[in-house]
Amino acid sequence: MVAELRERWLGASADDRTNASPRWLVLITVALIAARSIIFQYEQMHLTQPVQRIRWYTHEAASRAIFKNRKPALLFFSHGNTCQECKNMESDLQETAVAEEINRDYVPLKVIDPSPDGLPAPKDVENLKQNYNAWRIPRMVVVPPEMWDVPAEWLDSYQLPDVSPGGMFTPNSDSDRIPLIVKSSADWHPDPLKVGNVDWIAPEKALQRASDAKPALLFFARSLDRHCDVVRSEIFGDDEIAAVIKKQFLPAFVVSHQRQNRPDSDETKRMLARFNIRMFPCLIVTSPSNPDQVLTGFAGNKETLQFLEQAHN
């Protein structure tokens, strides 16, 4: 019986036949397939919890930490334990070196979206998903402090460094990319620990409260514009400039999406038209009785500081 089955399925009843399947190959293959099945079953039964090396913040604590420490937020959108892809990505994030870097340079916030389990997502989770275009989960987004907690229309499609598993078939294929992207995000925002202390307020408020003693400082930037990113990072990351702005101006930030062929909000359109903005980045100091002072492009830290001091005087 065994010999017959062996001949039927393995094509050989004796090793000296030329159509015999090598036994070593059969044994190795069977062992590997068995091991694979066991591992698969084990993973399904015991969805392994990654070691928690990242100190996740709550939403409120994250907001406080971002404004206090001027660190960028790192949002990790996940479906929780029911999503193997999310668990794999989190497992990669929890690697010792990556987790250390995240804890040191970012304010990490895990956003759990329970919608795949048929549960409605909380409102704040829906807002975060909408603001940061996190429709494909898992996703990781880095948000610079200047862009945290600003109205959703300002953030609409703003180019934020993000990562999601590109290969939908191989969720682990991006595992070696994650540290790289975390690093490049940090490079994009050169040194999060030394990002000044500019507290942006809404443009309408800045214009309403502006006086000759404390004029409004409007920063017009364009999304997907490297020059604007550099000004945000280099100029407003300078502690000296940030201190001058804090003391003498009411800073407001206006983002246009012209480069993406997407309509700006009505408020942004009004601001662009009112100040006749044609070039980006553009700094404007405006007060009720004095003429507007304009500085376009990246002038450098020293020149920008001079501009601010002259504009205030």
């Binding site: 030329t18 190959l25 392994t48 497992s91 682990n172």
Partner: protein, 251 residues
Amino acid sequence: MRITWLQWMRSPARLGFVFYLTCVLPIGVALMTFNSASHELGLAEATFVALGLNLVLGAGIICREREDGVIATVLSRPIRRSTYVLAKWLALALASWAGTLLFIALQCLIFYFSYWHPIDLLLILKATAECAFLAFGLAATMVALSSWAPSYGDLVLYGVAWVFLMMISSFVEVLETIPIAPNSLMTLFRPAAASLHHLSEALFAILMPMVNLPIAHGLWLHTLIMYMSNLFGALLFAIWWLNRKEITYGG
């Protein structure tokens, strides 16, 4: 009748494609991807070269020989069919890997003489090892398909499998993306989506047996076992299927 590699390589189309993959492509890729600011080495394209070489060199590797009777001549000597299949696999894997190494070497040479910039040895080793994984894994898949399909059916099967994979994946994507109200009938599709997701992952691992290095901590055993089981499974299938076939002249 095709007998030797030399004769096989005399096909102008194949020779041209192999020349393109190993010589023209590296220069083109070098010119396209070299960035003077970042000094990036375009090694990611090496996997595409390994894939292309495997498909070009492996098309009809067994089935064509079965069709034109070469295999009958070879097996008229006391050679085990398993030895024949394993030799085909090894030859295909080594040939495509060698072509990829040539590509990588050319890339490095062009990069070095363009910028006189030191090349990161670890990057080269990583690309070399990843291409070896792909070359040996894909060669096993091609040999398995070739032992089963007639004529150039292995190439057709490979393409059809990709189309099937795309169909499953797009279906899974739709199921996972559409909003599903709690307690609705649509929630029944969730398990189906999960099963199809696993199926698409398994199929992709067979069609594109890649191992990305370094393998993340905690996943290396799983990844290697998956890769090796696919490779050995494909080889065993090829041998088993060929053992069952009656080999005659004229297919």
